[in-house]
Each structure stands twice: as C-alpha cells, then as structure tokens.
C-alpha cells in the first residue's frame, strides 16, 4: 500500500532539496503550488474514489483561510486558529453533504457549484464586511509555529510540504483500508455496497467532510503564503481549476494532484505575456490532455513503459501473440492464477 506513495514522496523530497536554492519569490510560488496541491489531494479523493464531483473546494479553502485569519487577527495563536479553520471547512463540508448526499452525478455537482457561489458572495459582500473585509479582503498576520516565523517563505514552504505529505499519506492509507474499500465499492454500485452493510449516505457525508477539511488545510497554507486574502482568490474559477488540475494530473494517481496543480500554477508563470488569454491556455491544456491522455499526465507516463514492452513483445512473438489464455474456474488448485 505505502509503496504507492513512493513517487509522491520522492517528488516532495526533490522539492525539499532544491528549495533552498530558489529565491523568495520562487519559493512563494512553490508554497502557492503546494497549498493548492493539498486541496487537490482532497478533491481527488472524492472524485476518483467516491464519484463525487465537487466545484466547491476553493470555497472550503476560503472557509479554512478566512476562519483562521479572522481568529489570528483577534489574537489567536496560529496553530489553534488553523485547527479551528480546518475544522470549520470540514463541518461546512459535512453540512453541505447531508442534503447533497441524496443526489448523484450532475445534480450533486450543481449543488457544490451553488455553494461555492454563496461562499464567495458572502466573503465579498457587504453583509459580513465587518468580519470578512468585503471586496478588499483581509490582511493576514504572519503566523508562528513552534517558534518558527511562517513569514519566512522557506519555513512556510517546508511546513506546507510536510502537510502535503501527511495529507497524501492519510488519503492513501484510508483508500486501502476497510473504509476505503467500502466507498470504492459504493462508487461501483451503491446497491452492492448497501447490500454488504455499508451506510452509503453516511459514507458519502464522511468522505466529503474529510475532503473539505483537507481543502481547509490548503486554504490556511495559502492565506499564509499570500499575506492577504480576498474572495477572488477562492472563486468558482479556482474550484474549476482544481477539478481541471486533478483530471489533467490523473485521477486516482498518487502524483496526479501535484502534477496537475504544477501544470496549472506554472502555466501563468510561463505565459505571463498572455494574461488576457490565460483562460484559453487553460482550456487548451485541459482539452488536449483529455484527448491525448484520458488517464491524465501521470497515467500516460506510467503506462508508457508497459506499452513499449507490449509492442516489443508483439514483435518477438510474431502474429500469434501471447498470453491470451485466461484463467478458468474449472482448473484445479494446482493451476492457481498467478498474481
């Protein structure tokens, strides 16, 4: 199970090793990337394993960010403010999922879409202006964690990286646990899951709340990276980019969220001159990836060696092919199917 985590762990280690050689600005971009990757890991969990398409994950990031920042501005220590912010995002996910878990597919996605609009509307609107700062948003007090100043981009980066690794580890452990198998069965067929004793509605609510909480972690990290937060940072567009990123990276692949977010964070950096056309670039990347690599960039790369092996094997075997014999139930125990 944990070996599936090796590629992502190696990627994080590489980032950790090269980070000291980067400028403050570049590390700031990396923190931004890691914060979004954390939220993307949570989003990938529900899309790829539980078939729940969410357009509200930037809104959960907003809840984590706004709650922690508001508490810090009221004198709370960063660690406690962050924990309450993350819990708030999880609770919001829990409350949203209670009615939404009765829906599926397109209807579920629409509800999350509406939720996102409500959250960003509240954050930017005049109703909560005294708390959330309206359109101008809030400045973020620099946090301190165990005596370390998170205002330092390198310190913040390493904290973010540890959180990303921990999040990926928790998600992988869960996916291959009893609970994970249950919600993966639910994805295949809710009737089968129910008939095996799984509380499908409870499972959906639980996994969605966890996913929202993880997005909240991303939100807290992002708020520290930006130094100021406002509603557009967590807009519906951001939620859509998260969905696009996990799809482009490769749904259900441990490296998928990180690779997808890297592509979508680095693209604007690379195409700075095309600001007005950035949406076109995003759309083009999304469409081309879906056509060329339906299993995402990671899926394409990981399937490449086996495709080459198959082509080489076909050449070696001739037109007859190989390995076409499938195991039969009628064979005896001595001819067990090899794994």
């Amino acid at each position: 199970m944990l070996r599936r985590q090796i590629p992502a762990t190696v990627a994080c280690l590489v980032l950790a090793i090269i980070a000291p050689f980067f400028s403050g600005y570049a590390v700031g971009v990396l923190v931004h990337l890691v914060a979004l990757a954390i939220a993307a890991v949570g989003l990938d969990l529900i899309i790829s394993r539980a078939n729940m398409l969410s357009f509200s994950h930037a809104a959960f990031m907003a809840i984590g960010a706004y709650v922690s920042v508001i508490l810090m501005r009221n004198g709370w220590e960063f660690i406690f403010a962050a924990l309450v912010g993350i819990a708030s995002a999880a609770i919001a996910g829990f409350l949203l999922a209670i009615p939404a878990s009765r829906l599926s597919g397109f209807s579920f996605a629409l509800v999350t879409f509406a939720f996102s609009a409500v959250v960003t509307g509240l954050a930017a609107g005049s109703q909560l202006i005294s708390i959330a700062g309206g359109e101008s948003g809030l400045s973020v007090p620099p946090g301190k964690l165990f005596g370390l100043n998170l205002f330092n981009p390198h310190t913040l980066f390493y904290m973010a990286l540890v959180l990303l690794l921990a999040t990926m580890l928790v998600c992988t452990t869960l996916i291959y646990s009893r609970t994970g198998r249950a919600f993966r069965t639910m994805k295949e067929s809710e009737a089968v899951a129910v008939a095996l004793g799984v509380n499908v509605a409870g499972m959906k609510i639980g996994v969605f709340a966890l996913s929202a909480g993880i997005a909240g972690v991303g939100g807290v990290v992002l708020s520290q990276a930006l130094g100021a937060i406002s509603a557009p940072t967590f807009s519906l567009e951001q939620s859509t980019i998260l969905v696009a990123a996990v799809t482009v990276g490769g749904l259900g692949r441990s490296l998928g969220p990180l690779v997808g977010i890297t592509i979508f964070v680095l693209l604007p950096e690379i195409f700075q001159g095309l600001q007005d056309y950035s949406a076109l670039v995003f759309a083009a990347v999304f469409v081309v990836t879906l056509i060329v690599a339906p299993n995402g960039v990671v899926g394409l790369v990981t399937s490449f060696p086996s495709s080459v092996r198959q082509i080489l094997a076909r050449k070696g075997e001739g037109p007859g092919g190989f390995g076409t014999q499938t195991p039969s139930l009628s064979s005896d125990n001595s001819s067990k199917v090899a794994s």
Binding site: T173, V194, G197, G206, P327, S328, L329, S335
Partner: protein, 256 residues
C-alpha cells in the same frame, strides 16, 4: 414452516401499474437451499430485492428468524445476516481478489475510519485478520485464484466466484444468490455448484438460477414464479414433473 429462517408472506411489489411480485409466499428452512426459478420477467430478482430490502414491499411481509424485516433498511438487514450477491458482481477491478473479499467483512471489522486513516495499531491488526479470513474463504470454497490477483484480470466465472466469496466471508445466516450461473459455461457452473455444495447445510441459501440441472442437483426446495405469482413449490423432483411448470418454464425452454 416450523424451523424456517425466512418467511415471505403475501409479498407484493408494484412499480406503478406493473405488478412485479404478486402475493408470493415462501418459506426457507434453516440450513436449506431454496431455489427460485421462472422465465425472464417472472419477478425473481424483484423478490430477492424485496427480501434484501433494496425495493420496498407494496404489500405483505418478510420475516427473518420470526422478526419482521419490512421496516429495516438493506444495510440493517445485511448486519442481521441477510447478505446477497448480484447478477453484476460490481467488484473493484483495481483491487485484488483478497481486497474485494475483505469488503464483505465491512460490518464485522471493529475499527474506526479515523484509526484506519492514521494506520493505528488496532486498525492494522484488524486488517491483517481480515486478510487472513479472506484467504481462508478462498481455500474453503476452493476458488482457484491467488488472493493477490487483480480482479480486473479475471474471467466472468471467477468474478462470480469472488462475488460469492465476498458474501460468504461474513458468514451470513441467509445468503441470497442472484443468478450465480448466468453467462457461465458448464465447467464454470460445475465449480460454482461444488463451492456451494461444500458449504451446504452450514447456512440457508436462496438462489435464483436458469440452469435447471444446477437447481435440481443443489436445491432442497424449489419455488417457480410466473408473472410474479407462485405457480409451483416443493422438492425439485416434484416441481420438475409439475404440468404447470413444464408448460410455463421447461416447455418454454424446450421450445427454444
């Protein structure tokens, strides 16, 4: 019936104006194998769905060990020991045979999702126990496949066998099998039959099947449905010679 584990009394299921199951009575003895047969559209799967709680009854009642099930949801019935399989097994292709069978132990594994997500010792211990139990069931049913084989690589016969193992692993009191032989060749049907014969008498089984020889060899009692109604009920030899059954079912098969 005295000693029956399942009593279906005057059970009806209506879908709008369509009567799928019409006042069906059925009694399954403890430890017996009860087959339900009938032509396509006779209401067999709908009856199984009603027993397992996936569709509500429009009338009548279902008693399990003497207690009514009507107000219990499907997952609550599963926790009581009423477990079923499906025509389409809906296994998780990305997981191994062992992991798929472990899903059947969902209700019996005592660890929380929190413990599992953090990989705490109790969750890991329970996981090891579940893995061993899944392997033991593969041996018990003599399913010729390694536990570590990805399910996506299996042919239909083995998928059906893994589906039965997934239901069997929880040691249910009543096992409902929906068309376990559909789409299988003779040798695969023979293997499914052997697996069920090995555990016969240990639990009660209700099985829907089209394959008459399979039913006649395996079942202690057979109920025949046509247009949602029971047209015959009794021991296999008796049912096979029933003129109504010959006309409605066997005759139709001969016509084919």
């Amino acid at each position: 019936m005295t000693g029956s584990i399942l009593d279906v009394r005057q059970a009806s299921v209506h879908f709008g104006g369509v009567v799928a199951v019409d006042e069906v009575n059925l009694a399954v003895g403890a430890g017996s194998t009860h087959a339900i047969i009938g032509p396509n559209g006779a209401g067999k799967t709908t009856l199984l769905n009603a027993i397992s709680g996936l569709v509500p009854l429009s009338g009548g009642e279902v008693l399990f060990e003497g207690a009514p099930l009507n107000k219990l949801r499907a997952r609550q019935r599963a926790r009581l020991g009423v477990v079923r399989t499906f025509q389409n097994p809906a296994l998780i292709d990305a997981l191994t045979v062992r992991e798929n069978i472990q899903v059947g132990l969902y209700t019996q594994t005592k660890s929380s999702s929190f413990e599992e997500a953090l990989g705490l010792p109790r969750a890991l211990r329970r996981e090891r126990e579940a893995r061993a139990r899944a392997d033991a069931v593969l041996e018990e049913l003599r399913i010729p496949v390694e536990g570590s084989t990805p399910v996506g690589a299996l042919p239909l016969g083995l998928r059906k066998a893994v589906d039965i193992a997934r239901a069997w692993v929880a040691k249910p009191k009543l096992l409902l099998l929906d068309e376990p032989t559909a789409g299988l060749d003779e040798s695969e049907i023979g293997e499914i039959e052997s697996a069920l014969a090995r555990v016969k008498g240990e639990i009660s089984v209700v099985v829907i099947a089209h394959h008459l020889d399979f039913v006649m060899r395996l079942a202690d009692e057979v109920t025949v449905l046509e247009f949602g109604r029971v047209i015959a009920n009794g021991p296999p030899t008796e049912v096979r010679s029933d003129p109504a059954v010959i006309a409605a079912y066997i005759g139709a098969a001969d016509d084919d």
